[in-house]
């Protein structure tokens, strides 16, 4: 992969943290190295709780991942992966399951996707029906957990303690959900479409994990049922054999090992829709800690984000020499209109140039040249604005669930 700094000045670190060193490590073929060849912990630089995590390669079909939870797995994409290109390799695409009873195998010959509820005829589709009986669709889209970056919320909140790597981008191939619904024939009066997968709650009274979207959204032609990511079948831990793709929406909607589609003629009253995954109905979903009687709304779409991927906190930037910053951005549920870089803590912004457009739901690479002309501390910041004109907030996002964090990222460096 191209490295814009290959002809420029070299950098050294003044903070010798494991995370920083890993960020600078060469990556090609790492999956082939033995585990002992890799540093086996990473520092996520969290305040108010443990910041060290193990790096693991112990999960099937998965390469080096940050171990956030062993069972059911929460595996985070190491951040250095995002510097290599806009598509996250399948073996480093993040993993998150809610219930410990999730599929560890699937019989492709007997797999069935049931479509039922408020439809003219209940149908059951085989994988063969999906792979060969319907038109194929393809799009690139970022899957991002609504709780991405929760570990950086202050004050800290309970939940999956993701750093910035519970997001991954892939090119998805499959069939349109609209085509599948049309086969069953949606009856007039349908309101919601609810999705379930092979994962089951362990305790009998506990709520099965399901999510639903409006009927019009379900039939927009973009929501799809994928059987391939980046041209390969989906890894078991990412939802083999088929997965719902809701482009631009948080990954909680992207039901893995999808086997049940139910058309509802009323609201979806299941726990995961009515109670879980909710945010305050406020700008940037942000309230003050301790605020009571919040008006909560369901989490739906992604919001714009951007990251510098080739400069880490603590880097020393050669004074007066031309340098190049690069990274990734995404517009949330809209495309990236612009990305801007600031080298003075947000006082002045310079437009970055944008890389290839892989579609509005994809990561997009950006690059901006800069020169630091005064010695000492500098704060690099990057900001994405989407095609709706929505941009990232300059102040911290905070809500009790630790959701939708998208504050402008800052990277502290030293010019010397």
């Amino acid at each position: 992969m191209g490295n814009f700094n290959s002809g420029g000045a070299t950098r050294r670190r003044f903070l010798g943290a494991a995370a920083g060193l890993l960020g600078a490590a060469p990556l090609g073929g790492l999956g082939l190295l033995s585990r002992s060849a890799c540093a086996d912990t990473i520092d996520l630089h969290a305040k108010g709780g443990p910041g060290q995590r193990s790096l693991t390669a112990a999960f099937p079909e998965k390469g080096r991942m940050i171990l956030q939870r062993t069972r059911p797995p929460w595996l985070e994409t190491p951040f250095d992966v995002f510097d290599k290109g806009v598509f996250t390799p399948n073996n480093q695409h993040f993993v998150s399951w809610h219930w410990a009873t999730f599929p560890t195998s699937a019989d492709v010959t007997r797999y069935a996707l049931r479509v039922h509820g408020h439809v003219n005829q209940e149908i059951s589709l085989s994988l063969d029906d999906l792979l060969h009986g319907m038109p194929r669709v393809e799009l690139a889209a970022v899957s991002q957990c609504a709780g991405n970056s929760r570990i950086y919320f202050q004050p800290r909140v309970a939940g999956a303690q993701w750093a910035n790597g519970s997001m991954s981008n892939a090119r998805w191939t499959g069939v349109s959900l609209k085509d599948v619904l049309d086969r069953a024939g949606v009856k007039p009066g349908a309101r919601m479409v609810r999705f379930g997968g092979l994962d089951e709650a362990i305790l009998p009274e506990a709520p099965k994990f399901m999510k639903s979207i409006d009927i019009d959204h379900a039939r927009d032609g973009e929501v799809m049922i994928a059987f391939a990511m980046n041209g390969q079948q989906i890894p078991m831990l990412n939802g083999f054999p088929i997965k719902l793709i809701v482009p631009g929406w948080c990954a909680v909607y992207w039901i893995k090992a999808l086997n049940d589609i139910e058309v509802l003629d009323g609201p979806d009253l299941n726990y995961w829709t009515t109670t879980a995954y909710r945010v305050p109905n406020k700008p940037n979903y942000t309230v003050s800690p301790g605020e009571k009687n919040l008006d909560l709304i369901p989490i739906t779409r992604n919001v714009p984000r951007s990251f510098i991927t080739n400069v880490s906190a603590g880097d020393i930037i050669p004074l007066g020499a031309p340098n190049s910053a690069r990274g990734i951005a995404f517009g949330g549920d809209k495309g990236v209109k612009s990305v801007d870089l600031s080298t003075d803590g947000g006082a002045n912004w310079t437009p970055a140039s944008l890389g290839a457009d892989e579609g509005k739901y994809s990561f997009r690479q950006w690059r901006a040249d800069f020169t630091l002309t005064t010695p000492g501390a500098h704060v690099l910041m990057v900001r994405c604005t989407n095609s709706d004109g929505e941009t990232q907030p300059g102040k911290p996002v905070w809500n009790p669930g630790g959701y939708m964090g998208n504050m402008i990222e800052s990277t502290n460096v030293l010019a010397a």
Partner: protein
Amino acid sequence: MPRRLLVILMWTILASSSAAVAQAPQKLVSPPEVDLPFGDAAFPDGPGAEAINNNCMACHSVDHVMNQPSLSREGWEEVVKKMVRAYKAPISLADQEKIVDYLAETKGLD
């Protein structure tokens, strides 16, 4: 090589490699049944460790808890309540108290 040319060349490499996506499969193959790690066998010692060991590990591994931030006693009470009310963990009231004690002691704010 002039810097500008180098930059253009690099962009071209980036763009072409990111677009190089293999053809999607015509057939899916069941991967072998996967065997997944369980995690630690028990929580670190502490007052009430027995209660947390007996009640919490059916649904999640130890590291789920150990990686959480430090929280106030009220914060931990809320977490344990959520496990019982929302996720239907069958934990006796007595054990709920012991679990909160353990968490407030080992992962408290003070």
